[in-house]
Chain length 186, copies 4
């Protein structure tokens, strides 16, 4: 049980009431870390909201940026999304510092086409609002608008093998959520 | 737009405000149909809550049936779950009436081991609260407690090839939701 | 056991030796039906090979149509692909004939954006050669080159809600296979 | 092209002919590493074959261990399986050495119930022979027969958060493959 005590000190879990939905309460250490690491890697939530706008403007002519941003926030509040973010960014960072063993190091540094674990992680994000996000994810990944183009600049010395798929996946999931909400509002 | 008019007559979509969470408002025709068809096939929500209890009692000694039932309700409120339910039950019913062509008819009637589309549909349900439900789904499908045993009685003349996987998947998803809530409440 | 006898008459399973890879031997009734129904719905394997070419020409400048076609054949030889094809096409056909109940009928006839079961089925196809096909699927579904554009012509009176996703998924899976083969051949 | 040259030096890709199925030829650096790391973590292929036997003996009374082992070998030959193995084991090892940042470190060390990325990776393995492996994976993960029980011994000081799910997934995929082969052989 001493081990458990150490855990609690590390994770600093706050006592919360079930169904208590105030934003600050549900922000635990995992969510805070996920948001911080996105920021540290140069990603703002507005960058992701821009991708949502790119994907959805054709279906919703009156779409506002604040609606895109709101849906990105909702996706980031999901625990499985936060888990994927911190795992993927940590692997990118370790690759950048050369702290992974071969052949993993080279596969990550070169964003090797057959690696696929980046897509697997991205997929656990796309899924949070159902299968209708699959096509948005694939489309944005090929077109690489906005921040995705910057992340794919191979001359930067940074490794964003996981991050670019994760960002595309968050935008795709936020688009699915937006589509569900719009339908409910019809 | 005439086409749109026809759609609306068929689906009888009610105008709803976004984020208006009252239960009656969000119950649209798809949700109503999903709930009705479960009932028509002999499934009560309490049957599914029993499965959640079976899966989760070991982790939560004070677990109450009403908590299980509440989480089943939440899963049933998801559109992708409703879509899987009505598609799967409709295929089961068509197979029962002999209204499918071969070889699909025989594969469904005999719950053929290599068919797998039933698991694929079940999976879109398990996924709604993330990957931690995968193992619950597999476990319950092999153990076949409660209602699942009854559905697998091959002498009934009924075809439940999709339904038994769907019920197991709803119970697994409700278990994942319950686990997430319990963690938040710690 | 009489029931089993009836099954066997219906499925006409041929005795085959394990690992006997001759093409004719492995073509059982499920594969034959899948291939026939694709043809009946106006899809030739060359149409799908064209989509593979569209997706892969940028990565393989010397790509030949026969290589694309070969990989499409390999995808069609997979049982889970055949299962998805016959289930999806059967649902499309029933919708076309008005032989499904509401609200499923309208959702299929109008290819409703929140339905998603078509994507779920497509996904079980994309998956057969791993996660690297996800993005190809999404991209082709948005761009709708070649046969996909024809399938989406809403004025034809046909219902291709499942078929267009299935065709895109076969092309995406064949592209993944081609990428794996090319890498092995380097 | 200089960049490409560097890649090739690191990965030591051997030239192979497409469709050349000899075992030694397809064993590239990724496969070799995956097999070595399994061994280094105390897993023999016979341990995994035992799990396949546990899962399949009820369906195939004459099942031989060599058949189980053969199907495990086939699963290990898949690139997406190898990718998942080396990524998961590397994360386990980094956690064991304390070389991951918080909160990832604690989540991995304690095999936290809501983490889920281990299941996500496992799933990319289960999928290689289709959806019929889902239930085998969930069942074996709950029952923890053989080597899985040993991996879950929390007093060993080792971290097997990813490895136990990966081993279960390989066994589930090998079981699916075996089921497909048996059906073809009927």
């Amino acid at each position: 049980m001493q081990h458990k005590g150490k855990e609690q000190k590390n994770l600093v879990k706050k006592k919360e009431k079930v169904n208590n939905m105030t934003f600050e309460n549900t922000t635990d250490i995992v969510e805070k870390t996920a948001r911080q690491w996105l920021k540290d890697r140069g990603i703002s939530l507005m960058d992701i909201a821009d991708l949502v706008y790119f994907l959805q403007k054709r279906y919703h002519p009156d779409l506002k940026m604040e609606t895109c941003l709101y849906n990105v926030e909702k996706v980031l509040a999901k625990r499985e999304v936060q888990n994927a973010i911190i795992t993927g960014i940590h692997l990118d960072t370790l690759a950048e510092k050369g702290q992974l063993e071969e052949p993993l190091l080279t596969m990550l540094r070169t964003d090797e086409g057959l690696y696929g674990v980046d897509e697997v992680l991205a997929f656990s994000i796309v899924n949070v609002y159902g299968s209708i996000g699959f096509t948005n994810y694939g489309y944005i990944d090929k077109m690489k608008p906005g921040i995705l183009k910057k992340l794919n600049n191979k001359t930067s010395g940074r490794c964003h093998t996981f991050l670019d798929d994760i960002i595309g996946a968050i935008a795709a999931a936020a688009s699915s959520r937006l589509a569900h909400q719009a339908k409910d509002a019809e």
